[in-house]
Point group: C2
Chain length 384, copies 2
C-alpha cells in the first residue's frame, strides 16, 4: 500500500483530503498533530486524548534524547508503550531545538518564545553535525544526521523527520544557502542511515531556504526528488503572516502531489485554513496547550481571537467555554468555575482549558476535512 | 427518615457500617472524604472523581469565603453546581484554618505544615468571633459562629460544621478549657443560626478539649446532647499517634451510637483502621493528594509506607503503581513513565498520582466497609 492516499482534491484550491497509512492505523488528513514534546501532552493524559479523539501526537527527539533517553523509551516499548498511546506518533528530528536554542532567534521569530533558559547552548555546527550542551546538566552532546535517525528509530514513532539546520530569519542569504546545502547532504545521510537500520518508519524530508524564492525552489526540488515518503516545510517563514503565506504558497506550488506535506510549527486557526488551501496535509503547534495554560481559549463565540478566561467579565458567566463545543469540559463546567480556578491558581484550570482547546482544534480539523471531502471547504472556511 | 442508619455493628470493636442520608444521596460509611479545599480536588476534575467512584468531597469554608466568595458560589448553584458534583459535600466551618494560621502551630502538630505563608493572620479572638487578615489582599475579615453558618448555607454543602476555636497542643490547659467553653457557646449560636435560616443541611458539632480527659469528657457530653445530627472530633489530638488513639478512644467510648462521627483531618491508613475500630464513620485528609503531588504513592506493594515514585529504582519498572489496583492509571501507565514525568517536572505526573492515590483510598474504604458488614473487619485489618 502507498503511504498516502488522496481521497478528494478541491477544484478551487490546493486543498485535499487523504489518508496517511501508518504502522498505528490510518491517519485522516488534513489533521493537526497535538504536541506532546516530552512524551506527554502537558496536563492531559493519553487516555484523555483518546477520549477527545485526537488522531496523532508529535513528540520531540531533542528533549527525549536528553531525558529520559531513547534507550529507556525503547526498553519500554517505544513512545507508544511508554506513553500508552496506540495511535500514530510523529517525532521531529531535534534540528529545530538544537539550532533555535543556539542561534537564539528562530524561536522568537517562529514561535514567540523569548528568553528561553535553553538558549545559547549550541557549541559547534559542522558538516558532521551539531555539538551542544544539555540544558539539564551542562554535559556536551552531539547530534548528527545518523544519530538523529538512530534516536528516532529507538523512540519508535510512525513518522520521523530528517535532521536539518533550522536557520533563523536574521542570518544572511549566503549563510542560509550554505546551511540549506548542508541540510540537503544531511538528508542523504539520514536516508542512508534509515535504510541501514531497515526502519519501517515513514521518513519526512524538510524543505529549507528561508524566505528566498530561489533557495526555496532548489530545496523544494531536492527534497521532492528524494526517496522520503513525506515532506515538511521548515525553517524561517518570514516575519509576518503574509510573508509566511507567500513562502508556503511558492513552495507548495512546486510540490509533488503524491506526498503528504507537513507545515512545521504552525497552528493558528487562520494559518491552518490558509495552509490547507495551499495543500498542507498536517500541522503541529504548541498553541492549543500553551494558550490553555495561560487561560487563552479557542471558542466559536469569538472566532477571530482567543478568549481570555481570566477576564473579570467571566466571573459570573454560567455558560461553557464554547457553547457550540461538545467536549466533556464544555458539557460540564462553566466559564465562571474555570475563571475562578485560574484566579485561585489551581492547576485544574490549566487541565480543563488544555482539554477543551485540544478538543476544539480536533473538531475544527474534522470539519475542515469534511468540507474538503464535500467540496465546500473554500466557501465555508476561506471566504467566511 | 433519620440522618444516619447503622447497618451493622461489630461485636469485636466499635466498628460499624452505616448510611448517612444526605440531600445528594446515600453516603455509605465508613467513608473517606476526598479533600477539595478550594472547590476542586487538586489536579483531578469532578468528572474524574466520579469515574473513580469517590463518594463525598470536603471543601473549605475559610478559603472559599475569601475566594471566590460564598455569594458567587450561591449564584452558581452552590458548590454542587459550581464544581459540577452531584454527590454529597461536607464543608468544614473555617475554624481550623482561622485559628491554626493564627496560633501557627496546630497545623504543624496535626498536619505537618511548616512555615505557612498564611500564618499569623489572626488579629483577635473574642466571644463574638475571630478577626483575621485575608492572605489574598490583607483585608480585615470577621468570622462569627453566625456568619460561618450563613457562609456554609450559601455554599450549600450537604453536611456542615459548627464554628469552633481549634486550640493547639502547646497552649495551657487553662486556655484549652476557656476555649472549649467558648466553642460550646458558639455551638449553641450556630444551632440557633441554622434554625433561623431553616437550613436543611446536616450540622456537625465539634468536640474540643485537647488532650485532657476531663475536658474531652465535658465536651463530648456537651456536643452529644446538642441537637446536631452529626459529631466531629477536632482540636489537638496530641503529639503522637498513640496519644491520638487514646484521646479518640476515650471520646468515642462516651459517644451516643445514633450519630455519625467524623474524625477531622486524619487520613493515614493505619489511623483510619484504628479510627474505624473506635467507631469513627468518616475521615478527611489532604494526604492522598498532597502525597501524590510529591510522588508519594499508596500501594499494596509496600503496605506500611508510601512508595516514592521519584526513586531511581523505578526508572525501568514496567509495572503499574500498584499491581493490585484497578484504577485507570494503574491499568494504563507504568511506574517508569510516571517516574519520568516527575523527573521531567511534567504536571501530568501529579495528576496521575493523585488519581491513583484517591482511587486507592476509595477502594480501601470500600474494603473496610465490606469487612465490617461481613464481620471480618478486625481479623482482616486490625490483626494484619
Amino acid at each position: 500500500m502507498s503511504f498516502f492516499t488522496i481521497q478528494s482534491s478541491s477544484q478551487k484550491s490546493r486543498a485535499r483530503a487523504g489518508i496517511i497509512h501508518t504502522l498505528h492505523g490510518h491517519l485522516k488528513t488534513p489533521c493537526f498533530m497535538t504536541v506532546g514534546t516530552k512524551a506527554n501532552v502537558k496536563t492531559v493524559s493519553s487516555l484523555q486524548l483518546q477520549e477527545i479523539g485526537v488522531p496523532v501526537v508529535l513528540c520531540n527527539t531533542y528533549h527525549l534524547h536528553l531525558l529520559p533517553g531513547e534507550d529507556l523509551i525503547a526498553e519500554m516499548g517505544g513512545l507508544h508503550g511508554f506513553m500508552h498511546w496506540d495511535k500514530p506518533i510523529f517525532t521531529d528530528s531535534g534540528g529545530y531545538q538544537v539550532f533555535s536554542m543556539g542561534h537564539g532567534s528562530v524561536s522568537e521569530e517562529i514561535k514567540g518564545i523569548r528568553n528561553h533558559p535553553e538558549r545559547r547552548s549550541l557549541l559547534k555546527i559542522s558538516e558532521d553535525g551539531a555539538v551542544f550542551r544539555s540544558y539539564l546538566d551542562g554535559s556536551q552532546k552531539v547530534i548528527t544526521p545518523e544519530s538523529s535517525i538512530q534516536i528516532q528509530h529507538k523512540l519508535g514513532a510512525d513518522m520521523i523527520a530528517v535532521f536539518d539546520e533550522c536557520t533563523p530569519f536574521h542570518v544572511e542569504k549566503t549563510y542560509t544557502r550554505k546551511s540549506m546545502e548542508m541540510t540537503h547532504r544531511w538528508l542523504d545521510r539520514c536516508i542512508a542511515e534509515h535504510k541501514r537500520l531497515n526502519s519501517q518508519q515513514a521518513l519526512y524530508g524538510i524543505i529549507q531556504g528561508g524566505v528566498y524564492e530561489d533557495l526555496r525552489e532548489i530545496s523544494t526540488d531536492y527534497i521532492s526528488k528524494s526517496e522520503t515518503p513525506g515532506i515538511c516545510i521548515g525553517g524561517s517563514l518570514g516575519q509576518t503572516k503574509e510573508q509566511m503565506y507567500e513562502v508556503v504558497d511558492f513552495v507548495s506550488a512546486r510540490l509533488p502531489k503524491e506526498k503528504p506535506v507537513h507545515l512545521l510549527g504552525i497552528g493558528d486557526l487562520d494559518d491552518i485554513v490558509r495552509g490547507v488551501a495551499m495543500g498542507m496535509d498536517s500541522f503541529d503547534c504548541v498553541a492549543p496547550t500553551r494558550n490553555a495554560r495561560h487561560g487563552r481559549i479557542f471558542s466559536s463565540e469569538i472566532p477571530n481571537k482567543k478568549m481570555q478566561i481570566t477576564n473579570a467579565a467571566f466571573r459570573h458567566d454560567t455558560t461553557p467555554l464554547d457553547k457550540n463545543c461538545d467536549c466533556r469540559v464544555c458539557q460540564n463546567y462553566s466559564k465562571s468555575y474555570i475563571h475562578y480556578l485560574f484566579r485561585a491558581k489551581e492547576a485544574l484550570g490549566m487541565q480543563l482549558c488544555s482539554y477543551h482547546n485540544i478538543s476544539f482544534l480536533t473538531r475544527f480539523m474534522e470539519r475542515i476535512r469534511e468540507s474538503v471531502l464535500e467540496g465546500r471547504f473554500e466557501a465555508e472556511f476561506l471566504n467566511a
